[in-house]
Amino acid sequence: MSGSLHDVKNDVWMRAVIVSVILLFVGGAAYGAFAVGVGSVKKTDWDAADEVLVEAKTNWNLLNETEAGGTSEEAADIHEQKKDARIAYDEAKEAEIDAHLSYLTWITAGKTLLVMMIIYAAFYGISGFYNSIQPEEEHDDHHGDDHEEHHGSASPIMMAAGLMLFMIGFPGFVNTCKSLLGLDYQAEMGDFGLSIVGAAITIIGIGNWWNEDLKGQHEQIASSDPFQGQDIRKAGMWVFLISETMVFASFFSSYLRMRTGWCTEWAVDAGKCEVVDTITASDLLRHEVGTLLPGAINTFALIISSYTIVLALKVAKDTEWKPSENALMAKMFPTRKKAVRNYLIITLALGSMFIVLKLVEWSHLIAEGFTIDTQAGSIFYVATGAHGLHVFIGLLVMLFMVFKADVLEDGYNEQNGQGIEYFGLYWHFVDLAWVAIFPAFYLY
């Protein structure tokens, strides 16, 4: 039961380092195109809309100060002018809000893509470099030797130590980031450095884990009830999902408790109360296609990504898999190995899009005054933020799965496809949580 399943040389990890450089370029290009390119055009539009608004407001104020003339004809004329000025002001205000939100969309998308690509690159680059310089394992055939079973892994200890350092420095890290962004905060370089070191150690721990998984181990089988005969990793994943269910249940119960006390638009419509005292995120989102769109697209993106990861698993386990007769599909998925890898890449892309759209939507809500310092805002941002964090952690795991699918000679197949299945359980759970979050926070 000991020894590696796959004979993988450590220098294969240099490919991860190369990919990290490519990802940095992609992030830079995305930032340049979205935030700097389109963003600057949108900023000009916003400035222009703002000027029109100021002009319309001045005109409206001037007319309001104008005394109505003596004759009824003059009074009617002034009244008409005031009416037109009011319409022009309302239109200018709406145009200014639209221009502002459009600017925020592009600038947030660009910044989010840049930060995501830097994090992806850090994971590929640091773990790739760390694993590529490790000494190669000696391959002595001790298969079946019980004394060699259950090698301990240093990865959890490394990750825990790294996370501890990261969290110790985290408040200073946040303040320093804000200071670097030009906000009025004091930079705390000591804490910032501590967090960076902690993050690097965490990533090295994760990289070490990746390396162990890449080489592979035989699946351990539970030998006692209640999971006797089942794969231990699968049982462990389900037990982990139990704890995740409780995390989200706590968000929902808190939300429900607060929500039953708010007089919202929904409660007024349902005849429960008379005067609205709380604006919820759904009040701002559900009435217009444009505002509901990011949340709705995200829902479809998660469902599609759930399907693509199931397809990756299905293809990996299918020993008789053949390319599609459809020319486009055959080009996208030419071999079993590439089909699995490409389905994983599509899942990764859809998950990344989810994060970008989520932050774009948040930027719009914050611009409209729906901030975290209100009761409705705090539960909304905490619940959807925790869900977004789960999606993002899933994406980091998927980075490795794409790498593994690419570098192993056979990629994922019927023998090692469980990795996709177990990760898929987590990913579907995240989808399942969204099935509850979307109607509760966006539609209700």
Partner: protein, 134 residues
């Protein structure tokens, strides 16, 4: 991985639909999830049933959101997470936290003493809040 036939009152319907269109159950499940997502968004977005003057009440929307949530949850858990087809111990494991989650939703979620929803007494725990005011 989807090769075996699903049976049972609900899973059997999914299987039958898959057989009719000549695809696997995953595909049918995917289509059903997409359709019901559109349906719930539409139920909230439209104030009247399109093409009619019939108003969609808040209670009706509530009903749609809950029923659609259950259908989508079943689809994901049963087919994508393979609870249907895997040993029953996994279903038991998945259902285990539901009782605690339900208790939290009842004991915390519905326990707001100043709730405006006038929830029925059987639905609201009768907590003693005297410690807050004394």
């Amino acid at each position: 991985m989807g090769e075996h036939k699903y049976t049972g009152p609900i899973a059997g319907i999914f299987q039958k639909m898959a057989d009719i269109i000549g695809k696997d159950v995953y595909y049918v499940n995917f289509l059903i999830l997409m359709f019901f997502t559109l349906f719930e968004v539409a139920a909230v977005f439209f104030e009247t049933i399109p093409g009619t003057d019939i108003k969609i009440t808040r209670t009706a929307v509530w009903g749609v959101l809950i029923v659609v949530g259950i259908i989508k949850g079943y689809g994901i858990a049963a087919f994508f997470m393979h609870l249907k087809g895997d040993p029953f111990i996994y279903t038991r494991t998945a259902l285990f936290p539901i009782i605690f989650a339900a208790l939290m939703l009842w004991g915390i979620g519905l326990s707001n003493p100043s709730g405006i929803d006038e929830l029925p007494s059987w639905c609201t725990p009768n907590w003693d809040y005297s410690y807050v005011t004394e």
